[in-house]
């Protein structure tokens, strides 16, 4: 348990994004894993099987609690989007804490607009570093299906990002139009 607990905590945290529920779900994961050890058929690595239980437990929790995506009252400003553009292209997070917080919020908003499974797939691949093969075993999917889903999820997140940029640009232009009237 000690060997795997940190990774399980990280996974649960990434999927739920609710720190207050992470420990409860992680406990549930280890309990379920212990109670269903007899069902482990050793076709996949034990860690992959454990992460599969983790992902399912998180999705069950989200479904049972009917947690809906957050709805933000205001859109991103043009400055926020342009700063975010700079941060993402530079691939270096800002050092200033307030800029960091702002960029984190902006990215959270973009991720929030993706379907849960697409978001988790991207996070598990890009942030947690799981291979396509591991993801396929964890999610009970075919490897090729995972590849296609990943590629489409990439397209979706960039669509959301582009739309946010467009909206912020339009809002940036709006006062000028009003002034002309």
């Amino acid at each position: 348990m000690r060997r795997h607990q940190q990774r399980v905590f990280r996974l649960v945290g990434r999927i739920l994004r609710r720190p207050e529920d992470v420990e409860d779900i992680a406990q549930q994961v280890f309990l379920k894993t212990y109670l269903s050890l007899g069902k482990f058929d050793q076709r996949a690595a034990f860690s992959t099987w454990l992460y599969r239980i983790t992902v399912n437990e998180c999705w069950d929790f989200l479904r049972k609690k009917k947690i809906r995506p957050l709805v933000y009252e205001s859109d991103l400003s043009e400055e926020q989007v342009s700063r975010l553009d700079g941060i993402v292209s530079a691939e270096r997070p800002p050092e200033n804490p307030s800029e960091r917080a702002e960029a984190r919020d902006a990215l959270e908003r973009i991720l929030e607009k993706l379907p849960q499974q697409d978001r988790d797939l991207l996070m598990l691949k890009e942030v947690e570093g799981f291979s396509v093969q591991e993801l396929a075993e964890m999610l009970g999917l075919n490897v090729n299906t995972v590849k296609v889903r990943l590629f489409r999820a990439r397209g979706k997140i960039m669509d959301v990002y582009r739309r946010e940029k467009l909206r912020s640009k339009q809002r940036g232009l709006a006062p000028t139009t009003t002034e002309r009237k």
Partner: protein, 175 residues
């Protein structure tokens, strides 16, 4: 699709048959033949080129989101103890539940075994009785058949005179 179109939010999708290959291409995990085929396709297909560019940007975006999300929640010092306590409690609960139902389960098994024995006895008895009854019927039919179509050996004529006498006797009987 121009940059202006893309900025307006128009979406251009990659060719469906190349989505899987493009995902591998992005990760650098394509074999030689597939890599050559995909490179050749990318030279001629603007939609796939744009989709590949976007996929690369998305990887940067998501990685940055992961970095900025900050440190994950760490397991508390008593985490293992709490989990072990929950496991023990779950095991005790399941043992208690099994103990609660044990007398009923045992009774049900006994009842099922008695019923199965009774059924087996009835089936055997019925088979044996049917077997006997079936044998008697055959004998009866055989006897009847013999009576109807076979001449009685006691009444069979022994010579030509006997035959003539029988015919005369029958003629008298009719009259």
């Amino acid at each position: 699709m121009s940059e202006a179109d893309r900025e307006k939010g128009y979406i251009e999708r990659a060719c469906a048959e190349y989505e899987m290959l493009l995902e591998d291409y992005l990760a650098g995990g394509l074999g030689d033949a597939d890599a050559q085929r995909t490179t050749a396709h990318l030279k001629t297909c603007a939609a796939c080129r744009a989709a590949l560019d976007e996929a690369a940007s998305s990887a940067r975006l998501v990685k940055m989101a992961g970095i900025l999300a900050g440190a994950a929640v760490e397991p508390g010092p008593g985490f293992s103890r709490v989990v072990m306590a929950r496991i023990r409690s779950a095991e005790q609960h399941s043992a208690r539940e099994a103990g609660l139902w044990r007398p009923f389960v045992s009774l049900a098994w006994r009842f099922a075994a008695t019923a199965a024995l009774a059924l087996a006895f009835l089936v055997t008895y019925s088979t044996v009785r049917h077997g006997q009854a079936g044998g008697n019927n055959t004998v009866a039919i055989e006897t009847e058949t013999h009576d109807l179509f076979s001449p009685d050996p006691a009444q069979q004529p022994a010579s030509r005179d006997d035959v003539l006498m029988m015919v005369v006797g029958n003629e008298h009987g009719k009259n």
